[in-house]
């Protein structure tokens, strides 16, 4: 039983960690561009990034299969480079988690960056600081709380991810059975004990995430 808990827990954390790191790096850049730049198609880009927030996860999973499968645009390129597909691996689960949690990061961070007074940035430019320097030294530090809140939300969303993961990474014992999927498996196979333990662990983790987010967002508004 311990092994049946330990592997999904480790896998879920690993996937959430990798996904959150990717979300942090790309999300902050995307949010900064959305907040501070005007370009053609910006509205469309914003909608596309936000879409996973409202689409059913199975639909996202299906669309990702179209994109990542052996015949998909990206999947084909990966196959050509690695000689193997990415479907039904933990990496596929990371892609699923990344897609569904990115909008949370972008939205929260974008709002936090937009709340930073633009005149502070101009003041830094006038003092000779470049835009990148200003973003790193002035804008992002001042949007810190929003970024952290977005990160916690994204991490929590990654941990709870089920639908898209199931579609893209499948349900392979010892390979892609995350916590959520293991709960489903345990329940299906009548292993109620295991299901209860896994559920309890997930509830505790979610409570922790909410407490952390609440604190960051509370500070943000203060």
């Amino acid at each position: 039983m311990l092994d049946q808990i330990w592997f999904p827990l480790y896998l879920t954390f690993w996937i959430a960690l990798v996904s959150s790191l990717l979300v942090l790096c790309s999300g902050v850049i995307i949010a900064y561009i959305f907040a501070r730049r005007d370009f053609r198609g910006k509205k469309l880009a914003e909608v596309l990034i936000t879409l996973p927030l409202v689409l059913p996860p199975t639909v996202i999973g299906y669309l990702l299969i179209l994109l990542m499968g052996k015949n998909g645009f990206i999947g084909h390129m990966i196959y050509n480079v690695l000689g193997t597909g990415i479907m039904f691996t933990w990496q596929a689960a990371v892609i699923a988690a990344y897609t569904v949690s990115l909008p949370l990061m972008v939205r929260t961070t974008q709002a936090a960056i937009e709340a930073v007074d633009k005149e502070l940035e101009y003041a830094a430019y006038i003092l000779g600081r470049s835009e990148i320097e200003t973003a790193l030294v002035i804008t992002l530090p001042l949007a810190k709380r929003g970024i952290l809140a977005g990160l916690v939300l994204s991490f929590a969303r990654s941990i709870g991810e089920f639908g898209a993961t199931l579609m893209l990474a499948g349900n392979i014992q010892g390979k892609t059975n995350t916590m959520s999927i293991s709960i489903y498996n345990a329940f299906q196979s009548g292993n109620d004990e295991l299901a209860k333990v896994l559920v309890l662990i997930l509830i505790l983790m979610s409570l922790l995430a909410i407490t952390l987010t609440g604190r960051f967002i509370g500070k943000l508004e203060a």
Partner: protein
């Protein structure tokens, strides 16, 4: 090398929809400004919305003008004909914003050091100490902006702006949030500072006293256009148009006058304004031209009715008092020129007016000093 000072000649127009890139209730706006200055302190003076801050944003590079040139010293910041528009970072200028723009997460030292990165490493500390000393803020070095008073914040902001040794300094109503006392103190500080650092300094204010205290020249703006450029006294006593006169507080303006006679000998011009005749300083215009005349409420002299009779050749008129409003050390009196049906607002120190023991409906004599009366073409 000859110092070239500053030359600005720019145009920038905004459509109704373009302002801030969002739907705006503001009207379309056109900035059209042309002036040149030396290493002096020029005050930009005008009502809000007249384009003062927009001009600063063009000079600093935050906004790109539609066409024209901006030259500071030997550096061309912008020349649209030659497709030159140097990025903000490469323009060597100091800018103190109207709102507090100290970086809230950095202490005073870090804030100032932000502008020192372009200096050689070994010179940074010396320059840092120099600006602390210049603004007398040595004791604030480790404080954060939230721990500073309004006056201290603006001194730190000035120090930060001066740290990179800018070749021009732009100050956008830096003291508007401060008490009158600190305000005057800091304005004097700016004046001495300008004498020390000897760079062109542009200062936005809409406080007339501050403008007079600071300016070697005033550039009057209205509706995005430069209305007049000159020394404070020049503009105050010779406004070129109604906008300038009004901005300088001339609230008694009459637009029903024409030139009756030019007296070359005594360098004066006689105007006829309705039934009234008034002599003003020599005005460069032709007989029968339509003009406006006016007088600042504080430049009108009231005399007791016993002291004489109406004498239009001496700008002396009989008046009756409509109302007297007590404004503490001053009194605001509204009176009517009896024979000419004209209303004048007068502001006089109480100590000069109290001995006359005037009340509403009393009559008195009004003296409009020729040198204090302003006259100009209406538009």
């Amino acid at each position: 090398m000859r110092n070239l000072g500053v030359k600005v000649d720019i145009k920038k127009s905004y459509n109704k929809a373009e302002i801030n890139g969002k739907k705006s209730t503001k009207k379309a706006f056109m900035l059209d400004i042309n002036f040149e200055m030396e290493n002096e302190l020029v005050v930009l003076f005008g009502p809000s919305g007249s384009g003062k801050t927009t001009l600063f944003k063009c000079i600093s590079g935050i906004i790109e003008p539609d066409n024209g040139i901006i030259v500071v010293g030997s550096n061309v910041y912008c020349d649209k004909d030659k497709k030159i528009n140097i990025p903000i970072q490469k323009r060597n200028l100091g800018y103190v914003f109207q709102n507090d723009t100290l970086f809230p997460h950095m202490n005073v030292r870090k804030n100032i050091e932000c502008g020192l990165k372009s200096l050689e490493k070994e010179n940074r500390e010396t320059r840092f100490m120099e600006v602390l000393d210049l603004l007398h803020i040595e004791e604030l070095e480790t404080r954060y902006p939230a721990q500073l008073s309004g006056g201290q914040k603006q001194r730190v902001a000035l120090a930060r702006a001066l740290a990179p040794k800018p070749e021009i300094l732009l100050l956008d109503e830096p003291f508007s949030a401060l008490d009158t006392e600190i305000r005057t103190k800091l304005a004097k500080k700016i004046k001495t500072l300008q004498n020390k650092i000897r760079i062109p300094l542009l200062f936005i204010t809409h406080n007339l006293e501050e403008a007079f205290l600071l300016a070697s020249k005033i550039l009057v703006l209205h509706g995005g256009k430069a209305q007049q450029f000159g020394t404070p006294e020049e503009i105050f006593y010779n406004p070129q148009n109604r906008h300038v006169a009004e901005i300088f507080g001339v609230s008694n303006i009459f637009d029903d006058a024409y030139v009756k006679e030019q007296d070359e000998e005594s360098r004066s011009t006689i105007l006829k304004s309705g039934s009234m005749q008034i002599t003003v300083k020599y005005l460069n215009c032709r007989v029968r031209d339509e003009v406006c005349w006016g007088i600042h409420p504080e430049n009108i002299t009231l005399l007791s009715p016993e002291s004489g009779f109406e004498d239009q050749n001496e700008n002396l008129y009989l008046a009756s008092i409509n109302s007297i409003i007590n404004k503490g050390p001053k009194k605001r009196i509204t009176l009517k020129l009896v024979k000419h049906n004209k209303i004048l607002n007068v502001e006089v120190p109480a100590q000069f007016i109290d001995p006359l023991k005037l009340h509403a409906n009393d009559s008195c004599l009004v003296k409009l000093e020729m040198s204090k009366v302003v006259a100009f073409y209406c538009f």
